[in-house]
Symmetry: C2
Subunit: 108 residues, 2 copies
């Protein structure tokens, strides 16, 4: 049953959480890979500080990104879809209206 206020049922919330979890795992895995590569390419001090800047930005980004509150889930999922961390077929268990909003936002 959908919560009247949020528009998300418990089942949908659980589905969304699973989608977020998988996206998170993918993004972290790719991030680790990227950092190992960047670090292997370090040849001068500037490369170190560039890696530091990159990590600072990523930390800030990831800290705020996987927000699972119902009020923002559509936007969070759209962003992750756009960035490629969520795959389109993973949205199949959400209702049609939400799916349309997410895919539409992701195209913006």
């Amino acid at each position: 049953m959908q919560n009247k206020e949020t528009g998300w049922s418990e089942t949908e919330n659980n589905t969304a959480q699973e989608i977020l979890n998988r996206a998170y795992d993918r993004e972290i895995l790719a991030l680790m890979e990227k950092i190992r590569f960047q670090a292997s390419e370090i040849v001068e001090l500037d490369d170190i500080w560039r890696l530091h800047d990159f990590l600072s930005a990523k930390r800030h980004e990831i800290d705020g990104k996987y927000d699972n509150r119902s009020s923002v889930l559509i936007f969070v999922l759209a962003r992750l879809l756009k960035e490629g961390w969520v795959h389109l077929d993973e949205l199949k268990d959400l209702d049609k209206d939400k799916r349309a909003k997410i895919t539409s936002l992701a195209r913006m």
Copy 2:
């Protein structure tokens, strides 16, 4: 000729600068090596943030450490000697009194 105010002659200042340069090169080389190693060991997200914390601290430390003003040179050299980035035999071209102060401070 020693500058009466600072107690450092131009020649000594140049010598000190060369010592600082070599120490800096050694420290940066070791830092690059350490980061490449730490990055190669990354297996989870916490390892990434640990690397980030380490880089933040190092950046702050190195930014302030290689201060070549005559008024602080004794302390800067003592610290670098203590940390191993300056070698004792590199101080041989500084006058005896300065050498004694630096080695004495480095033992503290």
